[in-house]
Structure formats: structure tokens, C-alpha cells
């Protein structure tokens, strides 16, 4: 039941790479295909905050000349790429979805983008997101929501909603997002694409505008598991500019994609298919697990006893770090300064922050400021860090028994715009399955595993530190077996 005929921008990066190598297509044609798609769907989606068509065309022409002259092709060469607007791009406005950075043009490129760009990727634009990556629906963007290509009345998930929607709708072949508590995996699940959150430190955070430094990771949005491996490989590795980046060798995360899951021990997180999970999501995940078992995987249930406290710990650690990281937005050096006369610098800063930040950011800054206050630190931040240690041990124990852990990525499919906007706690619950991996720093991928009422469902596969190749191997086996048609209905109308 294929919907519409695919354009170049609908193909995977690996297939496009093969066609470029064979000389069947040019980078310029590829860029035009992506730019046409953006023109066509963007009025309905709102996935981009800044589009860069001129830059994209220039770069594509340059690349064609380079490749024609015998320059080496990489798997990123010519690939139309979107970047979440929390990754810095030299000379291209970077807003974090916030009024306070509405006019901010960074003087430098984020390392992940510098590597990708150096490998020949073509930037088509910067994508919408929840303000400073705080949110699970993309409704907390100061510049308006993003709509889900599967149902325009529904959210794409968040916070990297723009990147997820752009890739699902073919506006970009792949995209980078950031994942602090699920912000890559959850929108990937809700938009029916692959979302990979690597091990903490695997990809440099230099140029990732910080939300919660100890949890933030740069992640990959792709329409195939193989592309996720290629994209991760292009951006991973040690960076002298990030003291927390891992100085470990980068093995090709796609080296085992064909290896299958026969004999792989897969642990279903205990309780992950119970209360709070929509029946349709449960069913799709169960079916996927049956398929994995049929492919030879050994399934068992594995408990993460402290994971029930993960959400509480996360909502102390992340806002605490955010309250510190966001202190720099004061209107003194860059960004939007509140207009008018101020009696002193404190008033200027207070007005700038009062007008520049949206309600969700303020909520978290206040929460974090409180949690770090003298007399409360131990009870809140200190206690949350102890919970975090226990969760890390839970994972260590689990990975002694099984090779990977699985659960739904999100307890629900895409919800309606506005549905949870007035209920922060319900919104926070969207990330119940994704948050523990951020607290533990382990890699996890969301891979489409079926549909519920016509909306995509994602399966989350989690592995031990640096086991990206292993989780992608399991994801790839499932992807191949299910053979889902993941072209959203929006594209049929083109």
C-alpha cells in the first residue's frame, strides 16, 4: 500500500550513496528534491525554524565538482541534512526554539555538525523544537508547534519534533537531534522513524546548547537502521573540546546489521507492558517480541528495580543543571535584550529573562534553582544522584543476564495538539521509558515496530555502554522482518 511515488529525498542515505557513486544522480538533484519537498509540506508541518536553500544549493554544486574531480565520497556526501536548532551552526541563526535567542547567530559549528559537514552533508535547515529542548510534544517552542506527518492534528513528540517530522516527511534524508530524557527516541517513535541515542560521551557535546549537561546527547534520526549506523559513524568519536567525550575507539556501529538475533538474549523490562501503556502500543510491541523470538532470540523478563524512581530523579537533576546552564542568557553579551530603560543591570537581566523565556523553561529553572538552594541540595540533587547510581547498577546487573533490553519507546502513540499542554505531569510521563537510559548514559534506539490506530509505534532497544552495534543489530533484524511501509499519509496528498 505504497503512498505516492518516492522522490530522491524519500530514499535512504545508503541507497542514495550507491546512486551517487554510480553517477546516476548528482548532489544538486538530491538537494533540489529535498528543497522541493520542504516547499510542498512545510506550510502544513512547521518543522523548520530556519531554512537554508541557498547554502544547500551552493554546497551541493561544490560537492558535485569535488566528486567529479575524483574527491572521495563518504556516506554523508550530498545527503540533505536537518539539524535541531540547539546545535550551533556558524553563521546560521540558532534559536533553541526560544525568543531569548531569536536573533542569535553562533560564531562556531557544533563538533557533530562540523564532522558531518566535513564529510559532505548538505544542510537544508534548522528544525523546530521545544524551547531549550524542554518538552515532549514540541508545543513549547516559542515559534509555534510542529505537526505530525501521520496526523496533522497530532504532535510529532519532542523535544526534537522538527527533526523527526522533517525526516518522516522526506524534507531531509536524515537529521540530528538531541536526547536528554528521550527527545530523539520519543519523537522518532511517534513519527515512525528510527531514533538513536548513543552512549553518553560517544558524540561530542561541543556546540550542543546545553539543557542538562550530564544527560544531553546528540542523536540520529533516519528512516532506516543502516542510515542510523552511518550517521552515528560520521559524528562519533573523541573531541578535545569536550572533556566528557569518550576517548574510546569507534567501531563501525553498522558492522553487525546482517548478523540477526539468533541466540541473542533479549530482556523485556519488567512492567513495561502493564498499566499506563496504551493497548495498541502493547499489542504492537508484543507482536514485535514474538517476531524476535521467531527469529531465534531468547526472551525473558528483566527487572530494573529502581527505574520507578527515574522520573523523579530526572526531574531534579535535569532542571538543576538547566537552571545553571541557562543562567548565561541575560541579555549582556548576545541574544535578545529586553527593550526599554532599565534602572540597573539586575533589572535589565530580570526583564530579559522574564520576557525571553517561555513558561516551561521558567518552570524548570525555578524548580532547579530551588533544588540547588542551600539546605535543600542534599535532599534533592544529592538524593537524585544516589538514585542515578542505583539505576546504573540496575543496568549493569541486567546486562549480565541479557544482551539488550526492550520496552515500548513511548507509552502512547502521538497525542493530540493541546491535549497535555496544561498537564505537565502527564506530559512528563511520555518519557517514562526513555529517561532511565539517559540517567545511566547507555545507548538506546527506537525502531518502528507496528501501528496502533494508524499511528506508528516504536520499540526501544537498550544496550550496555558503547554497544551501539549490538542494539542496531537487533533493530535491523526486526526492521527487515517487519518490512513496514512507513511513508506517512501526508505524502500521498502530494
Amino acid at each position: 500500500m505504497s503512498r505516492g511515488s518516492p522522490d530522491l529525498c524519500d530514499l535512504s542515505a545508503s541507497e542514495l550513496g550507491a546512486r551517487l557513486a554510480a553517477g546516476e544522480i548528482t548532489c544538486a538533484e538530491l538537494a533540489e528534491s529535498s528543497l522541493r519537498r520542504i516547499e510542498a509540506v512545510e506550510p502544513r508541518l512547521g518543522a523548520f525554524l530556519t531554512r537554508t536553500p541557498e547554502l544547500a544549493r551552493e554546497r551541493a554544486v561544490e560537492l558535485d565538482a569535488y566528486l567529479a574531480a575524483g574527491g572521495p565520497r563518504t556516506s554523508a556526501s550530498g545527503i540533505p541534512t536537518a539539524l535541531k536548532d540547539v546545535l550551533t551552526t556558524r553563521g546560521v541563526r540558532t534559536t533553541c526554539g526560544s525568543r531569548i535567542l531569536a536573533d542569535y547567530v553562533p560564531p562556531y559549528d557544533a563538533t557533530a555538525w562540523a564532522r558531518l559537514s566535513g564529510a559532505g552533508a548538505v544542510l537544508v535547515g534548522k528544525t523546530n523544537c521545544d524551547e531549550f529542548a524542554m518538552g515532549s510534544s514540541n508545543e513549547h517552542s516559542a515559534f509555534g508547534p510542529v505537526r505530525n506527518p501521520w496526523d496533522l492534528e497530532r504532535v510529532p513528540g519532542g523535544s526534537s519534533g522538527g527533526s523527526a517530522a522533517a525526516v518522516a516527511a522526506g524534507e531531509a534524508v536524515w537529521a540530528l537531534g538531541t536526547d536528554t530524557g528521550g527527545s530523539v527516541r520519543q519523537p522518532a517513535a511517534l513519527c515512525g522513524i528510527v531514533g538513536l541515542k548513543p552512549t553518553y560521551g560517544r558524540v561530542s557535546r561541543y556546540g550542543l546548547i546545553a539543557f542538562a549537561s550530564s544527560l544531553d546527547t546528540v542523536g540520529c534520526f533516519t528512516r532506516s537502521v543502516r542510515d542510523a549506523a552511518l550517521l552515528l559513524r560520521a559524528i562519533a568519536g573523541h573531541d578535545a573540546r569536550d572533556a566528557t567525550s569518550l576517548d574510546a575507539p569507534v567501531e563501525h556501529p553498522g558492522r553487525d546489521l546482517e548478523a540477526g538475533v539468533a541466540g541473542m538474549r533479549i530482556g523485556l523490562v519488567a512492567g513495561a507492558l502493564e498499566e499506563g501503556v496504551e493497548p495498541g502500543v502493547r499489542e504492537a510491541v508484543r507482536t514485535a517480541l514474538d517476531r524476535l523470538a521467531a527469529l531465534g532470540a531468547e526472551l525473558e523478563e528483566v527487572a530494573l528495580p529502581h527505574a520507578e524512581h527515574a522520573l523523579s530523579a530526572y526531574y531534579l537533576i535535569a532542571p538543576s543543571e538547566a537552571s545553571s546552564n541557562l543562567a548565561r542568557y541575560d541579555g549582556v553579551r548576545y541574544g535578545v535584550r529586553a527593550a526599554g530603560e532599565h534602572t540597573d543591570v539586575a533589572e535589565m537581566m530580570a526583564r530579559t529573562r522574564g520576557r525571553g523565556f517561555g513558561p516551561e523553561v521558567k518552570r524548570r529553572v525555578i524548580l532547579g534553582t530551588y533544588a540547588l538552594s542551600a539546605g535543600y541540595y542534599e535532599a534533592y540533587y544529592g538524593q537524585a544522584q544516589r538514585v542515578r547510581t542505583l539505576i546504573i547498577r540496575d543496568y549493569e546487573a541486567a546486562f549480565e543476564r541479557v544482551d539488550v533490553l526492550v520496552s515500548p519507546t513511548s507509552p502512547t502513540t502521538a497525542f493530540r495538539l493541546g491535549e497535555r499542554l496544561d498537564d505537565p505531569l502527564a506530559m512528563y510521563l511520555s518519557d517514562i521509558f526513555t529517561i532511565p537510559a539517559n540517567l545511566a548514559g547507555v545507548p538506546a534506539v527506537s525502531v518502528p515496530c507496528g501501528f496502533a490506530d494508524g499511528l506508528p509505534v516504536g520499540l526501544q532497544i537498550t544496550g550496555p555502554p558503547l554497544a551501539e552495534a549490538r542494539i542496531l543489530r537487533a533493530a535491523s533484524a526486526l526492521e527487515a522482518d517487519l518490512g513496514l511501509d512507513l511513508r506517512p499519509p501526508l505524502l500521498a496528498s502530494l
Partner: protein, 480 residues
Amino acid sequence: MVGGPWEPVIGLECHVELNTRTKMFCSCPNRFGAEPNTDTCPVCLGHPGSLPVPNREAIARIILIGLALGSTIAARSIFHRKHYFYPDMPKNFQISQYDLPICVGGALEIDLPDGSAKRVGITRVHMEEDTGKTTHASASGRIHDAAHALVDYNRAGVPLVECVSEPDLRSPEEAGAYLRELRALLGALGVSDVRMEEGSLRCDANVSVRPVGSDELGTKIEIKNLNSVRSLERALAYEIDRQTRALEAGEVLVQETRHWDEDAGRTTVMRSKEEAFDYRYFPEPDIPPIEPDPAWIEELRARLPELPRARRDRYVREHGLRPEVARVLVADPGASDLFERTVALGAPPERAANWITQDLAALRKAGEGRVGPEHLAELIAMLDRGEITGASAKVALEEAFATGDPVPVIVERRGLAALADADALAEAVRAAIDAHPDAVERFRAGNEGVLGFLVGQVMRATGGTADPRRVADLLRERLG
């Protein structure tokens, strides 16, 4: 109310800017006096997405300081963020250290005026980053009526070491001696320019007063804006006096931070304890713990130079210098180094020390010179051999300082060789007697003092090349 006598209890918190090539968390140059906001980058301007990476050389230097003070070098220490909003702090938090500093404990031994030594405990030495500098622009130069402020971020992110002493000091003079000793130590280690006037060494003092014999500490007052040893001593004297009077008048002191006004010679309240900031310290998530390799620490220990105290003792013991001269020499690493090398060339130590701490020190105050150990050794040797006079030696030193030319070349070029020709000298003496009959008269009438005047006339006539003692003898002979 408890009466006197009272004793002050003083502890110092010193901030030292390290003279590393680059800043603490980025690769911007670390230097003083560049055009505003030219030594900056996304990291030290706190741009969104930038990350701090610790400067290994700065860590090496704070470890050197810790080793010199006998501190324990922590096997694991961590950076914390210290939060407060201020425009010259780009991130609105300072990366500093809190409960796990790099260096813990230690002591600095200081010499007291009575010749005895005192061991001042060191609480901790920790690593942090400096802030930028704010200039308030207004007609009066005062903050409250300034229309705008200008911020220079060149200093933002410069490596800063904070050294906190125990409250072991008991007088302004002891505090001054501590600060001088710390300055000498840091200078000898070569880790900082230690220029208080440029702010590369800064000092805050904590002082309280209590009845002599009491074990309890009084209410602690912190004094800021102490820009020299002299202002430290003056501010402490003022503050001890103020607190003592208040206590004697039965007043209750409150914990507060006070500002030293150098011109007015008094302290004023900056903020009370109630207004104290809640810094919301929490571990810096962007920087992994600092866990120095023990082998590296040993390497650094081997790099430790002779420390000022040991060097002073050696100068007195081996070279027979007076302790005051040894102190002046050692306080200045450049002078101390020149002294060692001059003595190594065979110059008598005391003579070398005197030339360095007096005539040469005066020249060096005005700027950089080109005098090396050869110049000094030669100068002293020529003096000793009677080849030049003291007056000529000073002229030769000045010229050597300016040109770097060898002393014999200067003596030759400027005709500074001592007047050895007896006839010429006799002629100069005769001429002086003939030209000043009044003086001759007075001398003969018993006024000995006039002889100096006549010697001066002969010296001037011979361009300083005559030996003044011989001139005096000749004059006495003639007029006797």
C-alpha cells in the same frame, strides 16, 4: 562586658592569577593589557554550546604550589559551579572548587620582626577561573550614577588559584609578612607574575577580635579591596581598632563584608550576612574529576626550585649576607638569580648583593636592562683593583644597563679609568686650591667639613676618575 586586652585573629584568602600561556578552560592567550575583548572565544565568553576543557599546565602549577606549601594533593578533586549573576561573569557562574579542592592543608613559614619564625597553617588551595572587568562609565566614575557599563572579558577565564590560610595571624604585621612570603614563594615557583598592582595577586582578609587567652573566635569580618601589602596592614590596623572600640563600648558586632577605602583610610559595609549570596554550588558536569597520576605529581615535585626560606638561610649561611639583604634579594627572583650567577663568576657575595639591591635595583625599577652577571663581576673586580672609582663604576653600570656593552669597553669609551697619573692628580688638586681660597681659609681655621667640598671639586674636574681617598690625602698634605 568582657574587657581587654584584646587580640586580633586574622586569616587571609589570596587569589593568584597563574601566568600560563593560555586561559584555564580555552586556548585564548593569558596576558595582561591587550585591547579589550580581543583575547576571547566562545568558551570564555560563555557562548551557548561551548564547553570548558581544563588547562593541564594550570593544574600542574597549582600542584606545584601545593607541594611547596606541604599540602596534600588530592587523589580526586572536582570542580563546582558557583552561581551569582554579574555581567563580568560570562556564564553567570564561576567554575571553582568547593568541598574537594586540589590541595588540602599545608603551612607557610614566615619570619617575624623579632627574628623568630612562625608557621601559618594553610586550609586549602583550589583552582578556579577569573572574571572579566567592568568599567562603569559616568562623569563621576561612580557606579550608582553611571549611564552604562563597559565589560572587558580578556581576563574572563584566566586561571586563578585561591589560597586560604588558617586564622593563625595575630597582627597586621604578621599578615603583611605572610603576604610577602607567599608572594616570594609564588615568584620563586614562577607560576605567577604576582603583581598586586596589576591584580595578579589579590588578597581578602578575615579578621575578628577576642580577649587575649580566649579560645573562641569573635565575629568574623571580611575585608575586600586590599591592593598592596601596605593597604592590607593599614586596613587590618583600622579594622582591629574599630572592632576593639566597639567591643569595649559594649556593642555587638555582626558578621559582614567590608570594603577598604584606601584614600579615606577606613572600611565601610559592603554587605551583611543576611545579604550573603546562596551560590548554589553543584558539581560541574562538563568536567570529569581531576585525578592526577602519582607519577606526574612526583615529576612536579622534582621540578620544585629552592624555596625562598631555604634560599635566604643559605645566603646568610654560605655567603655571609645580612638577613635583611638576603630577604630583599630573594623576594625578587630576577635579582636572586643574578646574584647567584655573579657570585659563581667569583665576585665577593656581599659586594654583589649590595650592587644588586641598591644601584641596580634603582635602575631596574625604571625598566628592563641588559646587565648580566659578567657586567657585575667585572665591575666589582675593576673596583677592587683600583682601575675605576666608585663614582665611575656607577656611571659604567648605568651605561651597561642601557647598552649591554662589556664594562671595560665602556670604561675605555667614556674615559672612566681611574686617574693613575700622579702629576695630573697633583695638578687637579692645585687647581682646586687656587680656585677656592675661601674654602682653604676655612679649612685652615679648623673647619674639617670643607675638605669634602674640595674633594668634590677635584672629582668633578677629573670626571670622577680620581680616587677620592687619595685626593683627600693630597689636599691634607698641601694644606697641612
